[in-house]
Amino acid sequence: MSYFVVGYYALLIGLSCLAAYYKQRTPFMLLFSLTLASFIMGIIGGVSALWTVTLAAGALALAAGTSYAFREFLVIILPRETAKEIKTAPLTASFGMFVIFTYAIAGIFAPIIAPHGESQVIASAFAPPDETMLLGADQLGRDMFSRIIFGARNSVGLALIATLLAFFMGAIGGLFAATKGGWFDQLLGRIADVIMSVPSLIFALLILSIFGTNLAVIVVVVAVIYSPRVFRLSRAVAGNVVVMDYIEAAKLRGEGTWYLIRREILPNSTAPLIAEFGLEFCFVFLLIAGLSFLGLGIQPPTADWGSMVRENATLISFGDMTPLIPAAAIALLTVSVNFVVDWMLYRSSGLKE
């Protein structure tokens, strides 16, 4: 038995006892169930399994620490009102904000940050990592790390444009439908029903097979596919506001539709709409990544995470993690946005579940 194993169990059991002594039920349950799980894992997986647990715990602690520090940072630099709200954010949400912040920096300053050009061939195919190449080379000998950085600009940028377009179409349609009602509402509703009755990826594939894979087509198609979701939500949110007496009062005053939407409805719908924007971004981002992965999205040599997974997929069968890195980049951003949205939804619903 190595010192590591002894130290590992001693630390866990010691902490459990400490938690139990101070009657901290939740930490105790966590620590002790981890101890029990470690016994089983240690028996099955040996010391390496315990190392994995230690590393995972370390990574979690690091993430938690970063999130905490980032939240404090935001509280200090932001104006008072916003800071007060940020203070109540759970660590998951501030972790999400931190990741989004990092991605934004990477995307905006990509040419400065990336050590090599986007499609610059600098090594042999699948060269392993060395001092100049943090993550090694891809199937054509381009620097993986630089391409990941440029991918932040291309993949996220495209998804953002598509989301904005979808959001714009859906929200305007939804707000007008809720305010006007009648045949206009009916018509838009039926159109949304038809679009939503075809699975999104299938719809995208059908249209891309016809118009070919160019960026404008992708943006428009994806926006059309996801705008019904925004339409339904903004219509529902605005629908809840429209029945309020203050809307009736404004209507009876003789106000026009545009005034109603801008001054009375919109200020009361922002919270759910912002949360929906985040969710919508996740859907769009994943759909575009999926299309790229299928070779039908952003075309080479542009660096894009979805295509990078596909191009390097063969490495997986040699036990190499490289293709997982761009995939992980996609997952990390989506998770982060979801964390932030989850917090916003929790706040805006005010549910004390």
Partner: protein
């Protein structure tokens, strides 16, 4: 009972109309091609004669509505025309692959549905505890990961590093059922991971929503034991939301299946569709789209009919 029958009939009618509209959409989308199919497929280098010959072969000289009616009546009988690339009948190519896809989806569903509902209920009962928070983070992570990410992780750890399962789901005719299950385990597991997370979250939300109703509080104040509160008071009212959750996620499986089939080189309709799209084999694309869309619409239809039929207020009219 009149009311409920009328509602179901109306919903079924709406489903048929939607299917019809979607078939029009799929057929006429191809008509939007700049030029026509023959030009698009043969490219600019083709001579006038070859283009004309292809037009002849596809009957493009007749008006689109006529061709639509022919296509639809063929599709209803399982005949989707001829592939432009291989020249083989589309139905012959799709048939066995559709069975494989259904098998994969059913495989995933059989594991995911009970698992997700049970976990969802447990998490709902443990709400606001550490377990709930951890489950929330895990399910969010799983939802946020693209299918190919999960797929490759599974390949890396369960196939390449430990060789427990095959990375490539090559199915052949006459395999035993056990072998089938074993070979397609990884693609099924990938789907299970994504769908379970979705379903768990939705089940949790539905149950929590239900547990907040006054009649549940009343049952607790009558001294009904907790398990009986769930089984007798919550469950009969929970069927509608649960059916909805299940159907929605089965429909979601359909989209997921395409990507997972490509990752694991699984011989299903999804892969066929992706191939056909890149080769611009329109009859195959149309057929695959129609099949996927029809399945999707039918599942949503089933969910709505299911929730109408289980609604106690509708079952026992005034």
């Amino acid at each position: 009972m009149g009311d409920i029958l009328r509602l179901v009939a109306r919903r079924l009618g709406l489903g048929v109309v939607t299917l019809f509209v979607v078939s029009i959409l799929i057929f006429f989308a191809v008509e939007l091609l700049p030029g026509d199919i023959a030009e698009a497929v043969l490219g600019q280098s083709a001579t006038q004669e070859t283009v004309a010959a292809m037009r002849e072969q596809l009957g493009l000289d007749r008006p689109a509505p006529v061709r639509y009616v022919e296509w639809l009546s063929g599709a209803v009988q399982g005949d989707f025309g001829v592939s432009l690339v291989s020249g083989e009948r589309v139905s012959a190519a799709i048939g066995p692959r559709f069975r494989n896809t259904l098998f994969l989806a059913a495989y995933a569903a059989v594991i995911a549905v009970p698992l997700a509902i049970i976990l969802g209920i447990i998490v709902a009962l443990l709400r606001n505890t550490v377990f709930d928070r951890v489950a929330n983070v895990l399910t969010l992570t799983s939802i946020s990961s693209p299918e190919f990410f999960l797929g490759y992780i599974l390949i890396l750890y369960l196939s390449v590093k430990t060789s427990m399962f095959p990375a490539i789901a090559s199915l052949s005719h006459g395999m035993s059922f056990g072998d089938l299950l074993y070979r397609s385990f990884l693609p099924a597991l990938t789907l299970v991971l994504v769908v379970t997370a979705h379903m768990m979250r939705m089940t949790r939300a539905a149950i929590i929503n239900l547990l907040a109703s006054p009649y549940i509080e009343m049952a607790r104040l009558k001294g009904v034991p907790p398990w009986k509160v769930i089984v007798r008071h919550a469950l009969p009212n929970a069927w509608a939301p649960i059916i909805n959750v299940v159907a929605l996620n089965l429909a979601y499986l359909i989209t997921g299946v395409v990507l997972v089939e490509v990752v694991f080189v699984y011989p299903g309709v999804g892969q066929l569709l992706v191939d056909a799209v890149s080769k611009r084999d329109f009859p195959v694309v149309q057929a695959c789209c129609l099949i996927f869309a029809a399945t999707f619409i039918l599942l949503n239809l089933a969910a709505d009919v299911g929730s109408i039929l289980t609604n106690p207020r509708l079952r026992h009219p005034k």
